[in-house]
Subunit: 332 residues, 2 copies
């Protein structure tokens, strides 16, 4: 592999000049720059990442902590990750993959200066990673909201507002008795906050609008979802509006409604909270609040890069929910 010295020799300049020409940190005459670029191309030179990291104290890598466990909507995770990687690349950064439970790996990565910054997904209310993050000297941003977010930079969809929006929409459509089919039980047990926040927003807005609201966690399996639908229809036959915050259960819920002879949207109106492609891939195109996973991932990267650049950023940033009406809702 050619080194910066080979480039310097070929371009007949010093190594520092090559370095400055490539980084742009000092002015270099056009002629010299051209010679250097030519030498770089000719040799196929690539700076050695380790050497650069050592000399500059910057690795140009950001760490991404992903959850690799059950109960989560895996496709959503991938959308987040895709957003993060894509945006990171636009900032000329690479992404190091770390896993939820690997606290040792996290410490190695931060203390060993492998990463310049961290993006943390699927944050729980009382997350074991947070102490490590605050202790490390790298900036980090969380996707999701922990119990106590003071001093932390967070970005997320405003799930509480999403819950409120859905309830308000169902009220506006003339429904009087509604239900939230929420995240799987294990997500609630883990106190991943978005599940609770949706529920709270939905409950409160339903109350404000004088709706009768049922709130039930919903497993992601067909059998589990069927059970929830069966129980709901049996116990609360008056329910005419559903808000489904569970991407994986959604198709099963819709199937089961059909099997019970309930049509969507005429017998039951359904609003989903899920990524747009999922909303469009159902039997009926869903009226839905978009879960903009890739956008959030990209935003997290933007925020963390801003902090790396020394900018003072807002602590927490919640994206307003956007409801798109499609064919799964109708006036009563």
């Amino acid at each position: 592999m050619p080194t910066i010295e080979d480039v310097a020799r070929l371009a007949k300049v010093s190594t520092s000049t090559v370095s400055y020409a490539l980084s742009g940190k000092r002015p270099i005459s056009a002629a010299t720059r051209r010679r250097i670029e030519q030498a770089v191309a000719e040799l196929g030179y690539r700076p050695h990442a380790g050497a650069r990291a050592l000399a500059s104290a910057r690795s140009e890598v950001i760490g991404l902590i992903v959850p690799l466990r059950s109960g989560i909507d895996v496709p959503v995770i991938m959308q987040f990750a895709g957003g993060v990687v894509t945006r990171a690349r636009e900032h000329a950064h690479n992404v190091l993959l770390l896993t939820q439970d690997d606290l040792v790996g996290l410490e190695r990565a931060t203390d060993g200066s492998m990463v310049d910054a961290l993006v943390v997904m699927d944050v729980e209310a009382d997350d074991a990673r947070i102490p490590i993050l605050t202790r490390s000297r790298q900036p980090s941003v969380l996707i999701g909201l922990p119990q106590n977010s003071s001093g932390l930079t967070c970005v997320d969809l405003d799930f509480e507002a999403a819950g409120r929006t859905a309830a308000a929409e169902l009220a506006a459509l003339g429904h009087r008795e509604v239900a939230l089919l929420g995240a799987p039980p294990e997500v609630f047990e883990r106190h991943t906050s978005y599940a609770d926040r949706v529920m709270r927003g939905f409950r409160d807005a339903a109350a404000d609008h004088g709706l009768v609201a049922h709130l039930v966690p919903c497993p992601a399996t067909p059998a589990g979802a069927y059970g929830v639908v069966d129980a709901l229809l049996a116990d609360s036959p008056g329910v005419s509006g559903l808000f489904v915050h569970n991407e994986r259960a959604l198709p099963h819920v819709l199937s089961r409604l059909r099997e019970h002879g309930r049509t969507v949207p005429d017998d039951v109106a359904v609003i989903a909270l899920c990524p747009e492609d999922v909303a469009l891939a159902q039997q009926v195109p869903m009226t839905a609040i978009d879960l903009p996973a890739a956008t959030l991932g990209g935003l997290a990267v933007d925020m963390v890069m801003a902090r790396l650049a020394g900018e003072q950023t807002v602590e927490t940033r919640l994206l307003a929910p956007v409801l798109t009406t499609r064919e799964s809702t109708a006036r009563r």
Copy 2:
């Protein structure tokens, strides 16, 4: 951050001794080692990854190239990735996330010595990344099989054998007319080889057993899957055995069969090719050939580490399919 020199000073030894004590590359007396370990613990020392990479020409990072695009079973991708990350960690390596289409990023990572080795997922027949891989000095292993795999290290499920196994099983159960519902059309168009290999194996074995076999790609959406099922039942009413090689379409196929009044397994026997958890999560526990994604990912890491260690490994390794009988198949 404390450096190796701080550790050496505190332990009253030279830096080289610290280095040898930590790496184990030369014998160090028990007493000295203990003092060093104590100093390390006391200071919270972590070696600087960049410095280590520079001095040793090893980054202890492996690159993982994942597809972030449509038509693929995202959960399967995550299982692969999880297997890779987990096993990499066991080998004390980190994982750098690279994306399918980012050829520049791939070159930066290899030529810049960011990674010691590469694992490539979802390989296409004629993959644009292969030339870069063969040119780079890092070993790589592909998960999947390209057109021409000579000189490459590959690992995959033996999809052709899986197709044969399924056909043979349906024949053994007494079915005379069968169908393969395969991967989504876009996967075939991309010539990702596993789709073709399953089809070939199924077709050949069906012929050997004197079965009438229909071979159809199957979209992953409900509407698409319904269409395929509807058409199949209409055009080939004699079909009594199905082999579904499409994780995402599977629940929709099963739903649609039920909606047509066909029971599983009595009217139609169904064998799936999917991860075990998916097979178990259907309405009926599926007789299925396991797609051991996490295992394959881990295996890929093992192979790449073996090559890093200088071992001569087999070029291509195909895992034999394992069929587990559950409740979706029955004798005719």
